[in-house]
Symmetry: C2
Subunit: 585 residues, 2 copies
């Protein structure tokens, strides 16, 4: 996008509106600001809470997922086991002259027009070669760039007073779930499948953050780790979303440099093998529905399959849910990774704690087993005082091998000893197996709150009669109701304030405003997306009714104050629409 267009684009408009009206802004502005950090003001904090509440309503309340809260600060061991200390790195180059540091792959993208996918794929040597070949210089001072190095993008600290107790700020909330798996499994009453959600701050020490709220160093992540039995991968929720259409950009097309959309139902995506796990596909469908509820229509969403080198180190299939935004094109709002048993296996290995679950069969399964019984009566005379040792060695040998060898060769070579048929009995024993031990597999949908908030803002933005309004879905609007006296005299403010207090007591998030003309107050409310305005006028004093105004259509209805709380509860719970709030005027 050209610079002059950027001045007018939605990213600019939203950023300016967000700063001015208190959705969010860059933190620490009085100290010159620090890139990669944002502060949410009163409206933004509430919008963010509402979005997170929707995630909880969907996953915790409706789907029965467990929610936990674990610390941001994490001991090094955890991220050694998880592979982050090794892999959570980005290529960095330093300018030899001014000592500024940059993401090597971003420089290639920006200065040489190399595609993001291509740049991400390059090794340090390839990056170095390409930077040199393209003659790329420091974008700040024009100096020569050094060799790219891998930079660990976790925030490092020390836990307690010992310098060797290294800790990191978590770059994802997932590990807080994996390390507590045993306990969480107990809380799920030792039943598989079950899911665990964590919504909390996470930290990524980006080399050079950009794109405002879309790439911050401190952000809020909502990681859902869903544990299931890979041998029983059926998802009981599939029937609820099987016909939901998904817009996929498949890896097979991306490898041919195409971003062709394959539009299929969830059921078809599974049948054709585009998505490998039912749970994976089901969560993608819920994520799509969630984004629609945040105001992003289906055609502005897609799921892009990650290429092998783009995937995180733990993932065997990944899709990013992307939303189209004006300035940046398709941006990720959630990631859907098939993590398999990678994390639990790693933690089992590094901690020595068993991460298997036991699943009882409906009825025990009978299995036939070969067993070797040494015949001491014959072994004794044949091997004398070595007989005991040989008996023990035999008990450890593979019965099948022994049987086969005796049958074929007439003997079995056990170390330096020659075992004959007369020395052993090989029996067929029946045993009952009660169940199966295995490490569960994991599908992870992972949402970024901050990005959800940004796209909700960009998609809520409208211009109507030259005025900006934020057309949030009513259930995420940071303020639900504006309460206004028509004029600030003749007892109207008192009446309006009393109504305002009643609505607050009823649990609504409301704002009282009497400053300026009623038109100006409506405009101010529209700009921050307050869905309904309730106005007390002279008729209110006579007949106890008020006008209720719709933010989007600017239409008004008239309702009796006494019915208002009940009607408004129904409206915000999506049981009735605007017209049912009163009689139109």
């Amino acid at each position: 996008m050209k610079e002059e267009n950027r001045k007018q684009d939605k990213f600019t408009i939203i950023s300016e509106l967000a700063r001015r009206r208190g959705f969010y802004w860059q933190s620490y502005e009085i100290y010159g600001g620090v890139s990669g950090f944002a502060t949410y003001g009163p409206l933004g904090a509430r919008l963010k809470q509402n979005i997170e509440r929707k995630l909880r309503e969907l996953f915790v309340n409706k789907l029965g997922v467990l929610e936990i809260e674990s610390p941001v600060i994490t001991p090094e061991k955890v991220f050694v086991a998880s592979g982050h200390v090794e892999h959570f790195r980005e290529p960095m180059v330093e300018c030899v002259k001014c000592k500024k540091r940059f993401r090597a792959d971003h420089l290639l993208e920006e200065a040489a027009g190399v595609g993001e996918a291509e740049a991400e794929k390059m090794s340090l040597a390839e990056l170095n070669e390409t930077l040199k070949k393209q003659g790329i210089k420091c974008p700040e001072c024009g100096g020569t760039l050094g060799e790219p190095k891998q930079f660990l993008t976790m925030f490092k600290t020390t836990i307690g007073p010992y310098s060797e107790a290294v800790g990191y700020g978590r770059p994802e909330a997932a590990q807080g779930i994996f390390v507590e798996f045993r306990r969480l499994y107990e809380m799920a009453r030792e039943k598989i499948p079950f899911g665990v959600l964590q919504i909390g701050h996470a930290l990524r020490n980006e080399i050079s953050p950009r794109q405002g709220l879309l790439r911050v160093r401190e952000f809020t992540i909502a990681d859902l780790e869903f544990f299931f039995d890979p041998e029983e991968p059926d998802c009981h929720l599939l029937k609820e979303v099987k016909d939901e259409m998904l817009r996929l950009v498949l890896a097979e097309h991306r490898l041919k440099s195409s971003e062709k959309i394959t539009e299929v139902s969830v059921a078809e995506a599974l049948k054709k093998g585009y998505v490998k796990s039912e749970w994976h596909a089901v969560f993608m469908a819920y994520a799509k529905k969630l984004l629609i509820e945040l105001g992003v229509s289906a055609e502005n969403q897609r799921f892009i399959e990650k290429l092998p080198w783009e995937r995180a180190h733990y993932s065997s299939q990944s899709f990013d849910q992307q939303v189209l935004v004006e300035r940046w094109g398709w941006v990720e709002v959630s990631g859907h990774a098939y993590r398999g048993d990678y994390d639990l296996k790693q933690h089992a290995e590094f901690s020595g704690v068993d991460m298997c679950v036991f699943k009882e069969y409906e009825k025990p399964v009978e299995r036939e087993q070969l067993v070797i019984k040494p015949l001491m009566a014959n072994l004794g005379p044949a091997f004398k005082n070595e007989a005991g040792k040989i008996a023990e060695m035999l008990s450890k040998a593979d019965p099948k091998e022994v049987e086969a060898s005796l049958k074929k060769e007439g003997f079995f070579k056990l170390g330096k000893y020659k075992i004959l048929s007369e020395h052993v009995n090989i029996l067929r024993q029946k045993t009952a197996e009660r169940g199966r031990r295995f490490i569960p597999h994991v599908v992870e949908p992972s949402f970024g709150s901050d990005r959800l908030l940004y796209v909700a803002l960009e998609y809520a933005y409208r211009v109507k009669e030259d005025r900006a309004l934020l057309s949030f879905p009513p259930d995420i609007a940071p303020i639900q109701l504006g309460v206004y006296p028509l004029v600030s005299k003749d007892g109207l403010p008192e009446k309006a304030l009393a109504l305002y207090r009643e609505l607050i007591d009823e649990g609504f998030v409301a704002e009282y405003d009497e400053a300026g003309s009623i038109g100006r107050r409506y405009a101010r409310a529209d700009e921050v997306g307050i869905p309904l305005g309730v106005t007390v006028d002279y008729d209110t004093l006579k007949d106890g009714t008020v006008t209720v105004r719709d933010r989007d259509s600017w239409r008004q209805v008239r309702s009796p104050i006494k019915d208002l709380p009940h009607l408004l509860h129904l409206y915000f719970r999506k049981k009735i629409d605007f017209d049912a709030l009163g009689t139109s005027i």
Copy 2:
């Protein structure tokens, strides 16, 4: 408390119950655990959210305080300005032999029985002397202790790829508010007073954390910074809480080693000067009411005034709200500090950004001002080409001083120049002052979510007929409803599941349970504090009614399913009591 008593005390019982049923436990157990970090399981996370929701309902919804969310990671400049880099330190000693490190003051308390207040007051030299005099050795290996040093108890890290960009994990949420004051003041429409709340994770790198959830390295803090005009310190909310009784332990008594309770109403506490600011006293009253709502009765609460050396560096009067718990005695659950203009002044000085607000008078105030007018007609001839310079110097001189000197001495010495009456006119001018510029003062109530959660648990704990139950106030119970089929056959589970789903759709937090006898299920529910149990039995199939069981009294009423959602909404909004849920049986 003796060791054998500790085995049975509430701290032990709650910790065990919390671990077993999933309220909280020490984090990273599979790696041996890390002291000072706790993970909240499904029930704990929800209980914590409910407590934080109550803070929001009180402060944000009811009192109209603004809420923000700012980063945990903070650049060093902020904490240099706030004084934390200098003051946020604790005395540490290292064992010369085993190299273990300890809080010097805690060692004195534990090994030599020195009082907490006394130990906290000591300088490093005094600590050193007392440790030596008392012959205190390393509690781990008996080795000799080194000299105490000050240890900075903030988590330190680096922001971005430059090692000189030092950052800290915030030890309080307050600075995230102060640094954004200018912008927040705009959002409050440039009207004083107003308050800003932030609830979020904070970090204190304790040398040796202890007391479970009461002293953790990562915790959730709810800091409310309330900005007001020190010349108009009246609090309009005073009338609502003026008769609320406060139990104060005053500094004047503490200085005489007494913990005498002074029980006074809010109005009296202000009148007698025990609490210096109305806002301060009002927030203490709300904090008391909040704790009562969390289940801690008034007689188990007190406010202890901090002694000068116990107060944080920014505070001129502080009270800690304390709650009596069985093992640890009185523990702090909230702090109430009068921060004055300390923080805004510091940030103004360090950032160079003006932190003053302007308050317009209702009508402009007329003030008489002395003004010096140099008389060029006489200055010119007297001072020639220096006249211009002298005129400028005169305009900067204090008119009062000039007038007094001319009157007394007959001249005024302006640097090396002698100014006579004929060189100047001194006029009395009337000016209208439109308003006043000042830095607002701040009162800060600050709550620890984790401690609130712990005391809510300890105070909810009851034993009834040898069974444990958690008698949470219904509005903070992590699960609101248990839904049960009487037996798991004859269509009862299907009916109960359908009711469960309906209640979930209505927005209730419910649990469905059909495992084991109904008595066992009730017991399991009581132990995690589910206030109501709804049981579907054979009569349900006939007449569409269910039993509703009260957790605390174990009484039951019978209600028609069709009325249930409505009745339950009223019950949880505290509009009706248990008996109104149905007909008693």
